[in-house]
Amino acid sequence: MNIIVCIKQVPDTADIKLDGATKKLLREGIKGMINPFDMYAIEEGLRLKDKLGGKVTALTMGPSGAESALREAIALGCDEAVLLCDPAFAGSDTLATSYVLSCAIKKIKDYDIILCGKQALDGDTAHVGPGIAGHLDISQIVNVRKIQDIKEGSVSAQRMTEYGYDVLESQLPCLLTVVKDINVPRLPSLKGKMKAKSATISVWKAADIAAEEARIGLKGSATEVLKVTTPPARPQGKIFEGEGAVDGLVEALKGLMK
C-alpha cells in the first residue's frame, strides 16, 4: 500500500500577519505548524501502513521553511518526504496549487491512496484535496471520519455530511480528505525524532515535476485578491451582574429573538 499524505504548513493561529502592500500571507519568519487537519491525515496514513504494510510519503508545497513540517512528518513515522519549492510556485491559488501537487504525485507515480486534511485553517477553502483528484482524474471521498476497509483495489469509508454520514466504496487509487473524528494522532517517538534530523528531504522544482509554467504561481492562478479588510472589533459587551443579571440577559435575548 503506497500512501501519499499532502500537508500544508500554516501560520500558528495566534500569530497571523498579512503584507500590507501585497495582501499576501506573510509566511516567512512566522512560526509555522502542520495544519491541524493534516495531522489526522498523517496519522491515518501511518495506521494504514501499520496494518497493510507499504510506504507513506509526505508531500508539501511551500517556501524552504516548510521543510520543518516535513521533518515533523518523518518524526511521526513517514518514510519519505518531498518539498515542492520554487519561486515560480509563489502566489498560486487553489487551482494552481492542486495542479502543482498533482504533477508531483504523477512523478511519484506508484500510489494507492492520497490523504489530505479536510481543509487548511488559513485559507479555509477545502478546494485543494478535491482539486488534486480532479487533476489526476481519480476518485475522491471527502470529510472521511472512518476508513472501514481496504481490499482488492477498493476502499470503503464513511464521509460526514450535514445530516449524518454516508458509507462509500471507491476503486483505488482514491483521494480521501479526513476530519478530526477519524483518529487520535500519535506523538513523535525519540527514534523518529533522531531519524527526522538526518533524513534527506527531496526538493523538487517546477522543472523536476514537468509543471507547465503557464499553470503555476500567479500566472497559473485564476483568482486574485482584490482587497483585504479587517472587520471592526466587536464593541465592548454588556455584562449583567448581581441580582437582576438573569433578568437582564432574558430581556436582551427576547429583544434579539423578535
Binding site: D124, V225, V228, P235, F240
Partner: protein, 331 residues
C-alpha cells in the same frame, strides 16, 4: 477558445436532500437574480438527482428563468465524478459567466472538481457577492483566517467565475407563483453516469441532533460543563430557544458530545444569529469558529475569560445556576 464576452448568464446548482429543495438554493437564487439583473442576463438553475423534476417549477417561482434537470436514479446521491462531468459538459455548452454552489460539505468538494475540470478559479465560502459595474466582474467576499479578516477576490480572465456561498449569508428569494420560465429535462448518455465511487448507505443522524450549520441559535458547552450528563441542560435550553447544541473541542475530546457538534478550528465554523457560550473560556481556536456570529452571549465563572472580549452580553456566574433559570424563563 471563446472570449470572455461570449459568456452570459448566472447559473446556480440547486441543493436538495432526497428531492426536497434546501433553503440555501433559494438564497442562491435570490442573489443570482440580483446579480443577473445588474448584468442584464438570465438566471438558470441546474438540478441533479433522482425524483427531482417535480421541483423545477418552484425554482422558476423563486427567480430562475431556465431550469436544467437531470433526473436519474444513478445520481441519487452526490458523487463528485459524474456530477462534475455533467456540470462541466453543460457549462461548456451554455457558457454562463457566473456559476454558484452552496458551500455545503459535498458541494464544496464538487465545485472544486468542476473548477479544475474547466480550468477556472473558485472562491470558497463567500458571504458577499456583487458586480463591479466597470468591468462586470464578480466581486467575491469571504472570511479568511477564521474570520480575522475579509478578502475580496476576483477572477478577471477566466469564465465562468465560480463561488461557493455560505448557507444563511444571503436572503432567500421570495416565491412568486406567477413567474414563468422554461424547464429543460435532459436525457444523457450512460457514459456521463460512470463513477468509480458509489454510495452504499446513507445514515441520517438528524433525529438525534440538529445540524449546527442550519441553526439560528446555538447553545454551546465547554470544559466547565464537567460531564456528559450536564449537556442535557444545554439541550433543554437549545430546545426552548429553538436552537442546536454546540461544543468546544475540550468537551468533544472528553467524550461528552459527538464531534459533529464541535465548533472551532478543527470542527465547524458557524455564524448563527445568537451564540450562547456556556462555560467556554474562549481560546483563539474556538473563537475562529464562531466569532462571525451576529450576537455572542457568554456565561462563565471567570470574569477574565477571553470569551468576554468577543461577547455582546455576558454573565459572570455559574452555568449550573444561570442555565436552569434561562430554561425556566423561556419555557
Amino acid at each position: 477558445m471563446s472570449t470572455i464576452a461570449e459568456y452570459k448568464g448566472v447559473w446556480v446548482l440547486g441543493e436538495h436532500r432526497g428531492g426536497a429543495i434546501q433553503p440555501v438554493t433559494y438564497e442562491l437564487l435570490g442573489k443570482a437574480r440580483e446579480l443577473a439583473d445588474k448584468l442584464g442576463v438570465q438566471v438558470s438553475c441546474l438540478l441533479l438527482g433522482a425524483g427531482v423534476k417535480i421541483q423545477a417549477q418552484e425554482l422558476i417561482h423563486r427567480g430562475a428563468d431556465k431550469v436544467y434537470v437531470v433526473d436519474d436514479p444513478k445520481i441519487e446521491h452526490v458523487l463528485e465524478e459524474p456530477y462534475a462531468r455533467i456540470i462541466c459538459d453543460l457549462i461548456r455548452k451554455h457558457r454562463p459567466e457566473i456559476l454558484l454552489f452552496a458551500a455545503t460539505s459535498l458541494c464544496r468538494s464538487l465545485a472544486s472538481r468542476v473548477a479544475v475540470g474547466l480550468n477556472v478559479g473558485l472562491t470558497g465560502d463567500c458571504i458577499g457577492l456583487d458586480i463591479n459595474p466597470e468591468d462586470r466582474c464578480l466581486l467575491m467576499t469571504k472570511p479568511a483566517l477564521g474570520g480575522t479578516c475579509m478578502t475580496t477576490i476576483v477572477s478577471r480572465s477566466h469564465r465562468p467565475q465560480m463561488a461557493t456561498v455560505r448557507p444563511k449569508a444571503m436572503k432567500e428569494a421570495v416565491c412568486d407563483g406567477q413567474r414563468k420560465g422554461v424547464v429543460e429535462i435532459l436525457e444523457l448518455q450512460e457514459s456521463f453516469f460512470i463513477s468509480r465511487a458509489k454510495v452504499l448507505e446513507v445514515v441520517d443522524e438528524t433525529a438525534s441532533t440538529v445540524n449546527i450549520m442550519d441553526a439560528n441559535v446555538i447553545v454551546s458547552g465547554g470544559r466547565a460543563m464537567a460531564k456528559a450528563e450536564n449537556f442535557k441542560m444545554l439541550e433543554e435550553l437549545a430546545k426552548v430557544l429553538n436552537g442546536a447544541v454546540g461544543a468546544s473541542r475540550a468537551a468533544v475530546d472528553e467524550g461528552w458530545i459527538a464531534y459533529s457538534h464541535q465548533v472551532g478550528q478543527t470542527g465547524k465554523t458557524v455564524c448563527p444569529k445568537i451564540y450562547i457560550a456556556c462555560g467556554i473560556s474562549g481560546q483563539i481556536q474556538h473563537l475562529v469558529g464562531m466569532q462571525s456570529s451576529d450576537t455572542i452571549i457568554a456565561i462563565n465563572k471567570d470574569a477574565s475569560a477571553p470569551i468576554f472580549k468577543v461577547a455582546n452580553y455576558g454573565i459572570v456566574g455559574d452555568v449550573f445556576e444561570v442555565v436552569p433559570l434561562l430554561i425556566k424563563r423561556f419555557q
